[in-house]
Amino acid sequence: MSSESGNAVAFVNRFRTYVDRGNPIRNMDPIVVFIVLAAIAIAPIAFPGFVAAAIVCLIYPVIALFAGVAREFLPTYLKLFLVVGLVLFVLRAAFIDGEDPLFRLGNIAPTWAGVEEGARFALLVMAISGAVTLFFNLATVRYLMLALELRGVTPRATYVILASFQSIIDLGRHARTVLEAQQSRGIETQGNIIVRARAFFPILAPVFLAAINQTEERAVSLDARAFNSNVPHTHLVMLRPTRPRELVVAVLVVATVLAAFIGSAVGWF
């Protein structure tokens, strides 16, 4: 019992200090992280060819490694590369017409121009996809919403986002319960497509309606928790303020990318 109350004290003490997610990169303000990653992701568009995009795609694993999320990030990113990147590359490389084909395979005659174009496009898509994936590995939606609220975004907006995650869990659970109940009552959910399609309605309509019928109670309950009060809300959880060196890095990255785009516009590359 005493260890339990000791744990409770340790738990409560977490709120007396800044959130510590155990890594300096993950402790950064999610909005700063977002800006930096967004800048990096679009940078290769300013450069011709695929080298810049390839470099950017290699930067993400390095950041992931330093942030301690390589284990989560790398498999996802590799899968994206195989499922999306490779397909985009092969299709473009194979079908874009040009002279001097590298080799012929029936109708398909890939050219170096096609390969270049395919690599550039696939890597650009991967540069943006990688940023999105890495961002959600580095930041939690919860702290992102908190950071937005601290910058003046209304709690109603963040409520919608945060509540939708819980709604997905709750509705999913309910739908699966109903699905299992239907199956045990002998309603077919296997078999031919019409049978399966017909099972869709009785499973989902009641689940969705039940959720909608709860909205009134949710509304008054949240109102009872002063959700609609006019005073500015305070926050139990404290995000660490952005450190000067983080700010310097962010500004440098954004300035560099901006310079690249200006350079591209005036024809440096």
Partner: protein, 216 residues
Amino acid sequence: MVNESAVVKFLKGYGRLTIFMMPIGIAINFIGGQIALLLKLPVYLDSIGTILVGATCGMGPGALVGAISNVLNAITSPPTLAFGVLNIMFGLLAGYLARRGVFKSWSKTLLSAIPFALIGGVLGAIITIWVFGGLAVGGGALVVGALVALGLDVNTANFVAQVPMDILDKVPTVMIVFAIIKGIPNRTFAKLPLGYIYLGKNKAGASSKPSGTSVS
């Protein structure tokens, strides 16, 4: 009288439930898609919530539900971001059609599958062609590939493949939206921005203050 605080605005008038409908709309998009996968149906059924919220709360909330659902999808599959505008359009169109009373009758609702499918099919094809050069990966990619092999050019193949697929997707989608709207109780409609449509009132009458509160 009382000053118009946020609470007053929240408590009075239509739209009180909008921010509570939106998370459910987003969840419905996801769960619809998941159950369609679970039942191995060849359709997405992932825009039920967008159209439902558009039809009951209006264009803005519908578009937001579509946009947020798209961003949440992008967490696991970033390339879907390119198709975000589709979901936004579904929400806008649902709000627009709702104002014209489309979702009050099942036959009009069924017909609404056509404009939804046209947006989904044509705009979807355009994005596929424009962003991914017609060679996007996904459910329709195989069909497109087959059509190209049959001699169609890539662009035509995309349109030909996507519009019928979207009809197949949007017919059950709008019908389940209709079924849900039929099941929403009047007292809930009274708190939704477009609820007046389903209560058979005109907007002016609907947005007035609580009827008959004659407390002296």
